[in-house]
């Protein structure tokens, strides 16, 4: 990066980040005083109101990538990447509609709490292992980004930056538990939104836009100049299958992300969870629209000034260093740091819940609540330490793409949750077989393991879109068909859903003690879904251009 794009006074950057961390630790300490049970630690006592939760959900979902990675990809791929990002706004609404409120009704800590009740211990171990792998990939990506942000802000070596940023981050998250993670995330969302949107107003004014008063949507007068310089900027570029492939990998994957589901579960009631979703959509839409305008302005900047942005993921900082005072640029980096921290907070709380509550519930079901909570703290701390250590020399496979991991989650966990909540016939062995087979198949046909047997090529394969279009529908179809077959084989009777398993489904849908065998128990609709899934599977296998 040219020297003129660096932050001219590192002490200003240091001051901003120091103030933010003092606030995060303060919130963490206050939250720790409210934490006295496992319900407090994993679910903030099921007490969070809609506005705070909406902010917290948005902050947890909007990671460091919102400030760095996505802007770089808009700079590289232009408008199609904007479309990819837009659809992520429906993740939490869909999650809440399809299973979030049902699992909130049973007071689950994580989605695996439901898996354990519905499918039993072996299936839970399989799903928990997949979720932990994905959470570590996720936290690792954030930790590396955080280290790079600190490196950039203060000019310290990457390894030093990782230690300082990692230890400081894991510290305040461990202290605060879910109360701290939620209140901090709500505050971080405010910081992130101001840092993303407000400085862009000043930049747009200098760039000559009359819409500087509302950066997210009022830059239309810059469009003719943009088209003159980059005629292809608004081209949709890819065929319909590329856009359809966003659904299996990037819509169905995130709805099974445990750290997002846990935010829904912290709500003070089922109804409050739904109201939180409305606030989430408004807050996240504002932040995401800010991201798109930065991507647009980055392209506009390079096209009209002749300057080159060598490191595309630093576009936001470069624009602010170029156009705004140092204090503003430092605050923007503070916003990026807040984005990383809110997501790491969610990731680590998910690891703590999956290990401390779900796995430990299998290994030591009779353990006292206070001991379970201590194990939760230990799991959170260990998860953070693992992410820091791996960030020194990250395994290439794990950091290739967080986005790729969404396809893995959609393949392995989404069918288990959705069919478990909505279909009484879902069979325990069918889940284990389909999740393991399709999960490993997804890894195998990706370009990251054996490139010669990859489905798709280039970006579509690297992001897991082509692979996901094969394994995700296959996983759903396999799970449904195997469930129907296994439930009718007397030798496999032990894996068939019991009356207790089926009663769980009616209860989480709010039917209380009113049990009805035929409810959520059809065969025709699942078979139709299987047929559609198999058609998508074969479509996904066709050569990708």
């Amino acid at each position: 990066m040219p020297a003129e794009y660096a932050l001219s006074n590192v002490w200003i950057g240091l001051g901003i980040v120091f103030i933010l961390f003092v606030i995060f630790y303060g919130v963490g300490f206050m939250a720790s005083r409210k934490t006295s049970s496992d319900e407090d630690f994993y679910a903030a006592g099921f007490s969070i109101g809609p506005v705070t939760n909406g902010l917290g959900m948005a902050a947890t979902w909007a990671s460091l990538a919102t400030f760095l990675g996505v802007i770089a990809l808009i700079l590289k791929l232009q408008v199609p990447f904007v479309y990819l990002w837009i659809q992520w706004a429906i993740s939490i609404p869909l999650l809440t509609l399809l299973y979030g409120t049902s699992l909130r009704r049973m007071k689950a800590f994580t989605p695996a709490t439901f898996i354990k009740q519905r499918y039993g211990k072996p299936a839970t171990i399989v799903i928990v292992c997949w979720m932990i792998l994905i959470m570590i990939m996720y936290a690792l990506g954030q930790m590396i980004g955080l280290g790079r942000a600190f490196e950039l802000l203060f000019g310290v070596p990457y390894n030093t930056a990782i230690i300082v940023a990692g230890v400081a981050t894991v510290g305040f998250i461990t202290i605060g538990g879910m109360y701290g993670a939620t209140y901090n995330a709500a505050f971080q969302m405010v910081v992130m939104t101001i840092a993303m949107v407000v400085p862009m107003g000043a930049i747009m004014k200098i760039m000559g836009s009359s819409g500087w008063w509302f950066p997210p949507l009022a830059y239309g007068d810059m469009v003719p100049e943009m088209i003159k310089n980059i005629p292809t900027f608004f081209d949709m570029k890819y065929d319909f299958r590329w856009y359809f492939a966003l659904i299996p990998a990037f819509t169905l994957g995130p709805i099974a992300l445990p750290h997002l589901a846990m935010k829904v579960f912290t709500s003070s009631s089922v109804k409050s969870a739904r109201w939180a979703v409305v606030w989430f959509a408004l807050f996240l839409g504002l932040l995401f629209s800010g991201t798109y305008v930065v991507g647009f302005a980055g392209n506009f900047f390079t096209a009209t000034t002749g300057n080159v942005i060598a490191k595309a993921d630093q576009t936001l900082l470069i624009l602010n260093v170029f156009y705004n005072p140092t204090l503003v640029a430092a605050f923007v980096m503070g916003g990026a740091v807040a984005a990383g921290l809110s997501t790491i907070g969610g990731n680590l709380m998910a690891i703590a819940g999956l290990v401390g509550a779900d796995l430990l519930g299998i290994i030591a079901p009779d353990m006292e609540t206070s001991k379970k909570m201590k194990w939760g703290y230990a799991a959170l701390l260990t998860g953070g330490a693992v992410a820091i250590i791996m960030a020194f020399r990250p395994p290439k496979f794990l950091v290739t793409s967080i986005l790729w991991a969404f396809g893995l989650l959609a393949t392995t966990a989404t069918p288990a949750i959705l069919l478990g909540v909505w279909w009484k016939e879902a069979n325990k062995l069918a889940l284990i077989v389909s999740s393991l087979f399709c999960g490993f198949l997804f890894i195998l046909i990706s370009p990251h393991v054996i490139p010669s047997i990859c489905v798709g090529k280039g970006l579509v394969a690297a992001l897991g879109m082509s692979g996901g279009m094969v394994t995700i529908p296959l996983s759903f179809a396999m799970f449904i068909i195997l469930s129907i077959v296994f439930n009718r084989i007397s030798l496999l009777k032990a894996y068939a859903p019991t009356l207790v398993d089926k009663k769980v489904i009616d209860r989480i849908h709010g039917w209380g003690t009113d049990y009805e065998e035929t409810r959520y128990n059809g065969i025709t609709s699942p078979l139709i879904i299987s047929a559609i899934c198999l058609a998508i599977f074969f479509w996904g296998l066709q050569p990708w251009t």
């Binding site: 949507l217 009631s269 979703v277």
Partner: protein
């Protein structure tokens, strides 16, 4: 009554899932029907700004209607459950883990 409630729950879930998919993936419609990629709104090409607007205000609007209708449905469900005969002791023990 319970059959009606069951059908209503399934209908609400399917309708709002489809609506959320439509507002989140509206860009696909412009690819499927390229003829729609004409004209501008607030200075932007429609195929750019419409998906952004639907991805923000569209998702918020669908979520708002979803919240109002699903919360109303919950009220109806709670009213139905409150009319059920008293639980047995075993059922009460199982019930404890649910709200």
């Amino acid at each position: 009554m319970k059959e009606k409630l069951y059908k209503k729950e399934i209908t609400l879930t399917i309708v709002f899932s489809v609506l959320l998919l439509l507002v989140g993936h509206s860009a696909s419609i412009f690819v499927l029907f390229p003829g729609l990629q004409q004209g501008t709104l607030w200075g932007f090409p429609v195929q750019y700004i419409i998906p952004i607007l639907l991805g923000w205000f569209g998702v918020a609007a669908v979520s708002l209607v979803m919240t109002i209708m699903c919360n109303k449905f919950d009220d109806e469900m709670e009213e139905y459950v409150s009319l059920l005969p008293p639980e047995t002791e075993t059922e009460t023990q199982t019930e404890k883990i649910y709200e």
